[in-house]
């Protein structure tokens, strides 16, 4: 083992009683961590119940990746699901002289970790907005983003649109070429709403769920040859 490999092995310094108590704490902690980690993929009811027991400990120390309201840390990297893609949030203002859209994430952005944060926010917004995780929370982030964007743009209203970039239809993606083409050419609108500024903030009037597939403008999202930011 890596740590105590000096030769000869140094003597154990702690008393038996101390070791017993520390062992108990170690066991409890590792059990909680084990529950958190095995719960990440397809948890059983028992695992969920156990995770619930340790939840305050695990969540406050950020030791669990089990989605609470959305999967913020995708350790599976991608299953080609509808939300395993990058999202883009656009707010198009209405009634302003320069109707320039607010985009999230705005590119380019340096250092790259900033872009990663904005992309994470866009992805969380898209995942929730797609309704994959239930109807309770899809409009929370679109509302806060729309409010921020309209304030920045000085507009009284507008439209917010969340787009999934390259969301594939897995059944049709039977070879690398079609997957690559889908990633370049496909944009799915997963959420669209009218945003209206009211005295208490911003209200969203959501359009019917849309999943139409539209071609994007040439070059807009095409992958340039060479370096590309995350």
């Amino acid at each position: 083992m890596a740590v105590p490999e000096s030769d000869p092995t140094p003597p154990i310094a702690w008393s038996a009683e101390t070791r017993t108590w520390v062992s108990l704490l170690l066991f409890a902690h590792l059990f909680a961590v084990g529950v958190a980690i095995t719960t990440y993929t397809r948890p059983s009811n028992l695992q969920r119940q156990l995770h619930g027991v340790f939840q305050p400990y695990l969540r406050n120390l950020h030791l669990t990746a089990l989605p609470n309201s959305y999967p913020y840390a995708r350790f599976h990297l991608g299953h080609a699901g509808e939300t395993d893609v990058d999202f883009r949030v656009e707010v198009i203002p209405r009634g302003v002289d320069d109707p320039k859209a607010f985009e999230l994430p705005a590119t380019p952005m340096q250092p790259l970790v900033r872009l990663r944060r904005y992309q994470a926010l866009a992805n969380a917004t898209g995942t929730l907005g797609s309704g994959e995780l239930g109807d309770a929370v899809p409009s929370i982030l679109p509302r806060t983003i729309a409010a921020y964007a309209l304030r920045q743009l000085g507009a009284q209203g507008g439209e917010i649109r969340i787009q999934a970039l390259g969301a594939p239809d897995f059944d049709q993606l039977n070879n690398l070429t079609t997957i690559e083409r889908a990633s370049r050419e496909t944009v799915n609108n997963v959420y669209e709403a009218q945003a209206i500024v009211v005295p208490t903030g911003v209200e969203l009037l959501r359009k019917a769920t849309t999943l139409e597939i539209a071609p994007i403008e040439a070059g807009r999202n095409a992958a340039p040859a060479g370096a590309k930011q995350p």
Partner: protein, 314 residues
């Protein structure tokens, strides 16, 4: 027959007890945890410092993520940032947090700044979990375990100040808490890597060898465009299977002295490859830093000594 069974369980419990004690409680040199503190601290400082560029955009009352509106997404976790209202308060507290993280990375009052760094880091993560990712899960684990260890004993201002006062650290000074901390990092890292493998294998794409390709084709995320591999589908399949194979084997073979260097070297390749195709540089850095827990303190000290000699010679 019953006696054999009783004897077996008696030997089993005795062997397990001795092994457990040896594994967790043999005192160790704090060089490894100190090196992890230094590197993880630098990464934490970088992440906290870059957050300054978007501090008000994310955290201000009129920012993208106002506390009241996103509370339901925070999962009842504690963050002192939830109690800050004005931009001035935000800036003051954020800069104080940065100072704490810099002190921790430099190894100044490490016992104290270690715990404070954990509070600073967790408060930032809990304030806006939707701008976090895989990196923060690894860093939270590292920080928590570093708080248990005397990780300021080496490569730190604490050690430098002590040597100036004439208190040269005893070369043979060993700590049980250094071993416990290192063991916890090792086990937790193995569990995380195994979780990645299992979660990837729960879907179709990683079995079929397309998993890597889906990452390569994400135009927003990747650092470099590897879509040229389209003409070499076997390479794509191989990389997908290599990643899964590594994740499945790492938690087992890393415990073998013979395979450990190989797994660590393979880890550098795999995590770097992931950085290129997912753009997640900080996650790669965090995984490489955590992997240091498998490098013995003697090796860490040798590297530090040879580096010092090279600098002195230059």
């Amino acid at each position: 027959m019953m006696r054999h069974v009783t004897d077996y369980f008696s030997r089993l419990s005795q062997g397990f007890g001795e092994g457990w004690t040896r594994f967790w409680f043999t005192p160790g040199d704090p060089a490894t945890v100190s090196a992890i503190r230094l590197l993880a601290g630098v990464l934490l400082v970088y992440m906290h410092a870059t957050l300054m560029l978007d501090l008000e955009a994310f955290f201000a009352a009129d920012g993208l993520l106002p506390v009241g509106e996103i509370a339901i997404l925070e999962a009842n976790t504690f963050s002192y940032l939830n109690f800050l209202v004005s931009p001035a308060e935000l800036w003051i507290v954020h800069l104080l947090g940065l100072a704490v993280l810099i002190a921790f990375a430099a190894g100044l009052y490490t016992r104290f700044t270690g715990v404070l760094s954990l509070v600073v880091f967790l408060s930032t993560v809990h304030r806006a979990p939707m701008i976090t990712g895989r990196t923060e899960v690894v860093l939270a684990m590292l920080l928590l375990y570093l708080c248990l260890a005397p990780c300021g004993r080496r490569f730190s201002l604490d050690a430098w100040l002590a040597s100036r006062k004439g208190k040269r650290p005893d070369k043979a000074e060993l700590f049980t808490t250094a071993t416990i901390s290192t063991r916890l990092i090792q086990i937790h890292l193995c569990l995380l890597v195994l979780m990645m493998a299992f979660s990837q294998l729960s879907g179709e794409t990683w079995w079929s060898g397309d998993g890597i390709w889906f990452l390569i084709t994400r135009p927003q995320s990747r650092l470099i465009d590897l879509t040229g591999l389209e003409s070499s589908p076997f390479v794509v399949d191989f990389l997908s299977h290599l990643l899964i194979g590594f994740e499945l084997l790492f938690p087992i073979l890393i415990w073998s002295k013979l395979f450990r260097p190989l797994m660590l070297a393979l880890g550098v390749f795999i995590w770097s490859l992931l950085a290129l195709i997912t753009g997640d540089l900080t996650f790669t850095a965090a995984m490489l830093i955590a992997s240091l827990a498998f490098v013995g303190p003697e090796t860490v000290l040798d590297v530090a000594r040879s580096r010092r000699t090279r600098v002195a010679t230059a």
